[in-house]
Symmetry: C2
Subunit: 103 residues, 2 copies
C-alpha cells in the first residue's frame, strides 16, 4: 500500500515537477521562453511586478544566470527561496516590544 | 474576487506555513522537540532514515544549527533544498550516452 504523502513532501514535489514540466522531459534546464512561461503561469504576481524584459533580465542576474545560459534548477531554487523568505517575513510575529501594561 | 493561487504558489506557502505551525504563533524558530515533531509528521521517510538522535544531530549540523540554538527558517530551508535537489536528481533525464544502435 502506498504511504500517505505529507503536505510538505507534496510541496517539495510540486516545486520540482513544475520546473521539470516547464523544461520538457528531456531537459535539465529552461531556456528564457520556458522560464517566462513558467513565471506567468505559476508566479503571476511576480511576473506582473517584475517589470517586463528589463525586470526579467535583472531577476535572472539575481538568480545567478549568465546571458544566454539555461536556467538550472539551482538558479530557479534561488528565486523560490527569495519568495519563501519574503512570505516568511510577512507571516512572522513582529519583534517590536509590546509596551502595553497589564493593569 | 480572489485570484486563483497556482500550484507553485501553494507549495511555497505550504513550506512556510508548516514551519510556522510547528513553531507556534509567537515564534520565529523551532526548538529541537518542535523540529523533531515537524520531521516525523511532515518528512517521515527522512525521520526514519536519519538514524535516531545521532542522525538528528548530524542533520542539524549540516543545516548550520549550533548546539542549543533554535532552528531558524533559513536553516530549515537548507534541509528543504537538500530534499528538493535530491528529488530533482532522481527525476532528471540521465546524461549517460545511449550506446544502443538503431538497426
Amino acid at each position: 500500500m502506498a504511504e500517505k504523502v505529507s503536505d510538505l513532501e507534496k510541496a517539495i514535489s510540486t516545486l520540482v515537477t513544475e520546473f521539470h514540466k516547464a523544461g520538457g522531459e528531456n531537459s535539465n534546464g529552461l531556456n528564457t521562453d520556458q522560464f517566462k512561461n513558467l513565471l506567468s503561469a505559476q508566479l503571476p504576481t511576480l511576473a506582473k511586478t517584475s517589470g517586463g524584459e528589463q525586470g526579467l533580465s535583472t531577476m535572472m542576474q539575481t538568480m545567478g544566470v549568465k546571458d544566454g545560459e539555461e536556467i538550472s534548477f539551482s538558479s530557479f531554487w534561488k528565486l523560490i527561496q527569495t519568495q519563501a523568505s519574503s512570505l516568511f517575513d510577512q507571516m512572522s510575529p513582529k519583534t517590536t516590544k509590546c509596551t502595553c501594561v497589564m493593569l
